[in-house]
């Protein structure tokens, strides 16, 4: 018994009075909100609005200065780490290894030893698993795709993605957005922090607007509202 919640009607993320200080600067200011299961949230806002900080706090990479985060029913992120996928602003990949070697290693951290799982993840993002080129020689778009494959290789219930389309050409970014839509359709919850909001419009369920360290508005997309009805 881990004490974690798996029921589908409970929120996936509960933020309570979340505050994060960097020195005297408050990057997150008293955020309290909940996010439901099986939806694709797009977090938007100006530079310095606190989007990436929020994502890092939710992922457990930063400790909040005050308040709490409940993920999948647990306040201990390590307890549910195997159910979360995180894609950072940087690719989080080893340049000296090829794509499959990277995925094999990271899948191993989640207890997965099956090469087919890694191949499927690569195919899912449009990469060739047989490509033996090292990641250091990948284009920026290929790195981002592989980074996405790394985040989904263990089939997480909750995906936290920070700027997945940065330095990616529009065509590849649209493909990635479509992949995210498909993953959401499988019942996963996805959080995407991005400056390229229009790319996500066709697949997003809700836009979460941030400014000055606070969530200032939540805007449900007509498609998602229709689906809910």
């Amino acid at each position: 018994m881990t004490g974690t919640d798996t029921s589908s009607d409970q929120p996936v993320i509960v933020l309570q009075n979340l505050v994060k200080f960097f020195g005297r600067f408050a990057a997150l200011r008293d955020i309290s909100d909940t996010f439901a299961r099986g939806r694709l949230y797009v977090v938007v806002g100006d530079n310095g609005a606190g989007k990436s900080t929020l994502l890092r706090v939710v992922a457990g990479l930063m400790q909040p200065s005050q308040g709490s985060v409940t993920l999948l029913g647990s306040q201990n992120v390590r307890e549910v780490a195997h159910r979360i996928g995180y894609m950072g602003h940087a690719p989080l990949l080893y340049d000296e290894l090829d794509g499959m070697e990277n995925l094999r290693y990271f899948a191993g951290l989640y207890g997965l030893r099956d090469d087919d799982v890694c191949r499927d993840a690569m195919r899912q993002v449009g990469l060739d698993p047989e490509l033996e080129r090292r990641v250091g020689q990948y284009s920026q778009g290929m790195r981002q795709r592989l980074s996405l494959a790394r985040a989904v290789v263990h089939n997480p219930e909750l995906m936290l993605l920070d700027e997945p389309f940065s330095n990616v050409d529009v065509h590849s970014a649209r493909d990635m957005a479509t992949v995210l839509g498909r993953v959401r359709d499988q019942g996963k919850t996805i959080f995407v922090v991005t400056h390229q909001a229009p790319l996500m419009e066709p697949v997003a369920d809700e836009f979460v607007h941030m400014a000055a360290g606070q969530i200032v508005a939540r805007e449900t997309m007509p498609r998602a509202a229709g689906a809910a009805r």
């Binding site: 990479l61 780490a81 979360i84 950072g88 990949l93 000296e96 290894l97 951290l109 989640y110």
Partner: protein
């Protein structure tokens, strides 16, 4: 996932990356080679003098060379912020630490094996005491260097001048181990007495610092 399987896969990944880049081993070899050659020309010692000074010379050379490998260890994890991928995974933090220690241990032992014949040739070293005891000192001493070095390298990765920070923290705390390594090596080389006390001290040092580092590593890994 078990600690052993993650340690094994991380170690194999690090060995593969080092095999491809040879960053650490090349720098360590080059540095040690310079120390051997320069000190040999500077002092030109007799065989008897060599036995007296070799313990200090060898271990100081390996200590400085090891720092090169220790800095490389975590530099790889910082590029592309790969360490974050490990931190968000459910893999045990100590598995990462153990893999890094084992990898560094292997690199430094390989360096010692390659450099030992050169020390023998350049300093006309002939051990009066049993040579196998030198191997025991090398293994225990190397573990002492890398277990602390790996831990303090992890501690200093988020500091601005980490290359400078590591020796500043590591060298003072390694003094007891260094003393034991140098004295036991000199005792064996000269045949004056037995190195038992120093070997026991090294063993206790290794056990204590390995346990302390394992206990504290998770805190260091997740420090902001």
């Amino acid at each position: 996932m078990s600690q052993i399987s993650v340690t094994r896969s991380t170690l194999l990944k690090d060995l593969r990356m080092e095999w491809r880049s040879k960053d650490a081993i090349n720098s360590m070899l080059f540095f040690s080679l310079l120390v051997v050659v320069i000190f040999s020309f500077a002092f030109n010692p007799t065989a008897e003098e060599s036995r007296q000074i070799a313990g200090g010379l060898v271990w100081v050379a390996f200590l400085f060379a090891a720092v090169v490998a220790l800095n490389q260890t975590w530099a790889r994890e910082l590029r592309n912020q790969v360490l974050d991928a490990y931190r968000v995974s459910p893999a045990p933090p100590n598995a990462l630490f153990l893999a890094k220690v084992l990898g560094n241990f292997l690199f430094v032992v390989i360096l010692e094996a390659l450099m030992a014949p050169l020390f023998v040739v350049f300093y006309q070293l002939r051990s009066v005491g049993p040579v196998w005891q030198l191997a025991v000192v090398a293994l225990l001493g190397t573990w002492a260097l890398v277990v602390n070095g790996t831990f303090f390298a992890a501690l200093s990765i988020r500091t601005r001048s980490r290359e400078i920070m590591l020796p500043l923290i590591l060298f003072p705390i390694s003094i007891p181990a260094l003393l034991a390594m140098v004295d036991s090596t000199t005792t064996i080389l000269t045949g004056d007495g037995t190195p038992d006390f120093w070997l026991k001290m090294l063993l206790v040092y290794d056990v204590v610092f390995t346990l302390v580092c394992l206990l504290l590593f998770e805190t260091v890994l997740n420090a902001e």
